[in-house]
């Protein structure tokens, strides 16, 4: 089956070049050169998070968020949802509009997904950092207690988003039914993702159930980092890493199986 083989470092160099080219292309096609252009990449999620935060502040009490400050709670929660949801949604049905690019031998299906994932994760990360900086500078938010732990939680969620994106991207390519189910799943997963609650606030048996949800661990870790001793966070790094490795492998396997696409034109 094998065609000519290249040494790994050459292959990697080509891969990086191709992903870079796809990134530039994606930015231009999505945002064009008009107005603020690619700045939308992070301004859009920023405004989103800011809007939701405002709503939460206005309706506070409904959530019974105990006595911790609600603004950072909304920011740390909602930005994580945006990251995994947008990453996966951008991968859904991502191949079809780019199908003809696969005629270039070095462009693979994985590259198409990775370019989109990098863009979404970079956008979500910039949005979180910029929004936090803004709110901290204006005094609406305190400085985080432990930035490194926050970064750990965020990296976990970015990794999770990558695996999820590959799985969703590959499955939506195979089945239109899955694309519809995926939309329903995102809405159902949204309130379960840990953005709206902390595990500590739940009844004991619900806590155990909540800790089966992978996103909950990442969000808990981020809040552990932000609030420090003010909250009691529940998360297991072992569980996070295990889930992420499994999802990434399943995702890569599914993408690898997504071949012969040009033949179906």
């Amino acid at each position: 089956m094998a065609t000519s083989t290249l040494p790994l470092h050459r292959s990697l160099a080509i891969q990086f070049r191709v992903i870079g080219a796809l990134l530039m292309r994606e930015v231009l096609t999505r945002y064009g050169r008009h107005n603020i252009g690619f700045l939308w990449l992070f301004i859009e999620p920023m405004i989103f998070t800011l809007g939701v935060t405002t709503l939460w502040v206005a309706t506070r009490g409904l959530y019974g968020t105990s006595n911790i400050p609600i603004i950072p709670f909304a920011v740390t929660g909602y930005s994580t949802v945006l990251m995994w949801r947008n990453s996966a949604s951008r991968c859904a049905k991502a191949i079809e509009p780019n199908l003809s690019l696969l005629y270039h031998r070095n462009v693979t299906v994985l590259d198409l997904f990775l370019a989109r994932l990098i863009l979404e994760i970079a956008g979500a990360t910039t949005a979180l950092v910029a929004l936090s900086a803004l709110l901290i500078a204006t005094g609406w938010m305190e400085l985080p207690a432990d930035v490194l732990t926050m970064v750990g939680g965020w990296l976990d969620l970015a990794w999770f988003a990558t695996g999820l994106g590959l799985i969703v991207g590959a499955l939506t390519e195979r089945s239109d039914a899955f694309e519809r189910i995926w939309h329903i799943l995102t809405y159902l997963a949204f309130p379960l993702s840990g953005a709206f609650f902390m595990v500590e606030w739940l009844p004991k048996h619900a806590q155990e159930l909540a800790l089966w949800v992978p996103m909950v661990h990442g969000v808990e870790m981020m809040r552990d980092g932000y609030y420090g001793a003010a909250v009691k966070a529940h998360y297991s790094i072992t569980y996070m890493v295990t889930v992420n490795i499994v999802m990434l492998l399943v995702g890569l396997l599914l993408v690898h199986k997504t071949k012969n696409l040009l033949g179906s034109e």
Binding site: T3, S4, R25, N260, L262
Partner: protein, 215 residues
């Protein structure tokens, strides 16, 4: 050199597995001009994709020791909202080619003028064809895959294409796939007929054409 050894290709369809190419073995040497005749649906495009590496065979092997182009003048790869220049940049990035060196050639060849910096969706089909051809010529390959390219464009365009491909690059290999025998007669020196996924080799174009017409 490109070498196919007992290569077969099958696709999974709703009606079950469909064999598109059957046990093809062939060898393309540097500098050879190979013409492949085949009717619509004979498996030409699948073969081109496998030769170019856009697809993998189901059985058998593909060995490639020269660089092979994507199917030439293939206009489907354009993103309508990008300009001709953006599309050129993308191609150069993917293949690691020097963009600044490619720009003057493409501008000159395509004669797009100001449209070179306008969105491709505003182009006429002739303009698209010129851009597509120029993009493939902007990257140097050892072997060019041509899938019915000369079916589009006017005489002037054909002359320019011929000059770029068959005169300036006459040392390269060319694989020309067509259902028009005259094109193959004009440019090739090795002939194949592809019929229902099987390849038959001929050294003489008239014998190839005779076999082709009988199908």
């Amino acid at each position: 050199m490109i070498k196919l050894t007992h290569m077969s290709k099958a696709y999974q369809t709703r009606q079950g597995r469909r064999q598109v190419l059957h046990d093809i073995s062939l060898c393309i040497e540097p500098g050879q001009k190979v013409g492949i005749l085949g009717r619509n649906g004979s498996g030409k495009s699948t073969l081109i994709r496998i030769l170019g590496g856009a697809e993998q065979p189901s059985f058998g092997t593909v060995y490639r020791s020269m660089s092979v182009s994507w199917p030439l003048a293939f206009a489907g790869g354009f993103q309508g909202s990008l300009t001709g220049l953006d599309n050129l940049r993308f191609i150069c990035r993917v293949y690691g080619a020097d963009i600044d060196r490619a720009i003057p050639f493409v501008e000159e060849f395509t004669e797009l003028g100001v449209y070179f910096r306008e969105a491709v969706k505003t182009y006429s089909s002739g303009m698209r064809a010129r851009l597509a051809f120029a993009l493939s010529m902007a990257i140097e390959f050892d072997c060019y895959l041509i899938d019915e390219v000369l079916a589009v464009g006017d005489t002037r365009f054909h002359d320019k294409c011929r000059h770029e491909l068959f005169e300036k690059r006459k040392d390269r290999s060319i694989i020309l796939v067509s259902h028009i025998p005259n094109q193959i007669r004009a440019y090739c020196n090795v002939f194949y007929v592809l019929h229902e996924g099987r390849m038959e080799r001929f050294d003489d174009v008239d014998k190839a054409y005779e076999y082709y017409s009988l199908q």
